[in-house]
Assembly symmetry: C2
Homo-oligomer: 372 residues x 2
């Protein structure tokens, strides 16, 4: 394992924040969803030491440790808080559990009027204090070398888990609620929205410099319901972030049809999955927001040459229009989280290629425009 | 159970075929993906009598019986062959199995060069004769009352099952093949494409009057790979359908970003899932192809009033542009298959509302244009 020097001031300290504000940067910043995770042996050691995933999230020391692990290996331009999107419903008393190999589930899912009536907004500095403490600790440990990203699940995505009780392939229970008792569904979404607002503001107060909202299941909604059940709540959250200097990134997986609506939330940046052509996304919303994405995580299963080719192709799609400033407003990422089966060496190749090739495009364009 | 009269000539005999050719019809035709299936008690009886799902598919008599079951209950405008998309890989010797509650899997998935070298195109009148026999029998039993739709999985979708061996959430194995050995992946896609062409032509020769290609997993591809791994093969199939009078419907679930490319395949109609706004889909490709869809299957979990509202809203989105001929080129369907938990009464309400309300829109527009 190659130890990286993460001391000292560098362009990395501001690259992500500048890109999110659509300001020029020396090269395209890169971080990866689930960059701290099971593909790293040191992560698996930390998790084993903690006992289980939830214990890892709930210990600020351990959460800080695993947050920093990928930064020791790779020249990433940001740290992202190690936590889980389901901390909010857990703090609401639903009883989060992780069964080995089965994903998360709730002991007390929200199914009827009485369950909904019991939902209350947790105080992030009380029920979710372990998250705020982790943010404070990570921020201190980072010492300004790279910014720290905080995050939350979107109201719709959290509601999916809260009602279904676990992952789902057809979302039958929450959709039955939507079609049978839309009043109850919207009551859940209201409470969760208030909880997300308080949670993100608390993370920011604790030191998060960017916040991201993961709308993992927004893509299962109909076109009309996406606006009613997800986008409108995202917009309320963005408007309620108290510190207007903190960029908000919204990401709806499977939301490529709705990029304009995602930009309309007021977010600084929109995450896009790998089904989206970045040239088209930039044409549609790239003058209004930064774009984050969008390599297929499975591209990292390829050889080093393939990873390089795929990264280059992604960067070139972003810069397909020669009239636009190269790389402006692009934050390189995957289109979804890193797979646990990813070879760490692929991540090293990815990060190196993003920085090198995006700087090269900038130089090439600068020299061709100075010649003309 | 209300027995429907399915005797005698009627507008139903030609409504679907005319709509697929974008010709005027009295009202919008409707059929539903998985209209024969577990939500019907009589289907469950037939399946129990057959022993299992595969035996049901492989018996032409039983397949014919379950194909006709929904037509006895509902005024549907088409029958669709009862079969499974995995018949082709099964005929290729992969050993299709259905484990109770777990979905289909293959005993001999395709994993390496030797597996790929062994793949051969089955003769549909030999290895898949049971399907052709079912088509002949159903066509005879229908007696021209409604047309019969044949179908196949898309090459990409079949390849997903063949390589993964079963359903997948991350498609890691086939995507690893795509990034590590694209030559092998394309060899699989080539052979499967030839098999699909022979299979659809055999179904048409046996009596299928429309064929549909289900690209269930096309939506997991990146934008560039959708063209390379799915759309280009769909186009080859459409071009190779020998009887040019038979409309081909292509449906990529999660393919809303790629509607133009789906229309470019040369298909007569493009199926759209519920994430797509029909007004937008019609604007994008509705002058070139018919559109099939796109109610969220879970809308059928609502009350009768809710089902009516949702059907009306779907029809109205298709007719959002008052300058276009009402309903022209629309085939009403769900955005994906019927859930096994669907109350049959919801289907009755859906079918009745589609016919009644779409006829009403046509009358309203005709009288307002004669007044102006």
């Amino acid at each position: 394992m190659a130890e990286r020097n993460i001391e000292g001031p560098s362009a990395r300290a501001t690259r992500l924040l500048r890109a999110l504000r659509r300001e020029p940067v020396d090269c395209t910043p890169v971080w990866l969803m689930r960059q701290a995770g099971r593909y790293l042996p040191e992560y698996n050691q930390s998790r084993a030491a903690a006992g289980d995933f939830l214990a890892l999230c709930q210990s600020p020391d351990r959460a800080c440790e695993v947050t920093l692990q990928p930064l020791r290996r790779f020249d990433l331009d940001a740290a992202i808080l190690f936590s889980d999107i389901l901390t909010i419903p857990d703090a609401m008393g639903l009883g989060l559990r992780f069964a080995a190999g089965e994903g998360p589930w709730f002991e007390r899912p929200v199914r009827d009027e009485a369950d909904v009536a019991h939902l209350a907004v947790p105080d992030p500095e009380v029920e979710l204090r372990y998250v705020c403490d982790a943010v404070r600790l990570i921020r201190r440990e980072l010492g300004g070398r790279v910014p720290l990203i905080g995050f939350s699940g979107s109201p719709w995505t959290l509601a999916c888990y809260m009602v279904e009780g676990r992952g789902s392939s057809d979302f039958r229970l929450i959709k039955t609620l939507r079609y049978r008792r839309p009043d109850l569904l919207h009551r859940i979404l209201e409470v969760v929205t208030e909880a997300v607002i308080a949670y993100l503001n608390a993370q920011i107060a604790a030191g998060a410099q960017v916040v991201m909202i993961f709308d993992t299941w927004g893509g299962v909604l109909s076109d009309a319901d996406f606006v009613a059940c997800s986008q409108s709540y995202l917009a309320r959250i963005v408007a309620a972030v108290a510190d207007k200097t903190v960029p908000v990134v919204v990401f709806t997986k499977g939301g490529g049809l709705w990029l304009e609506r995602l930009a309309d939330t007021g977010a600084a940046a929109v995450g896009v999955d790998w089904t989206v052509d970045l040239a088209e996304a930039r044409r549609r919303i790239g003058t209004r927001v930064a774009l984050q994405g969008n390599l297929d995580p499975m591209a990292l299963m390829g050889s080093a040459d393939t990873v390089r080719q795929q990264v280059v192709a992604t960067l070139e799609r972003y810069d397909a229009d020669p009239s636009l400033s190269p790389g402006l407003g692009h934050v390189f990422n995957l289109g979804h989280g890193l797979s646990q089966f990813t070879p760490p060496d692929s991540v090293a190749v990815l990060v190196e290629t993003v920085h090198r090739y995006s700087a090269e495009i900038r130089r090439r364009r600068a020299s061709s425009s100075s010649l003309s």
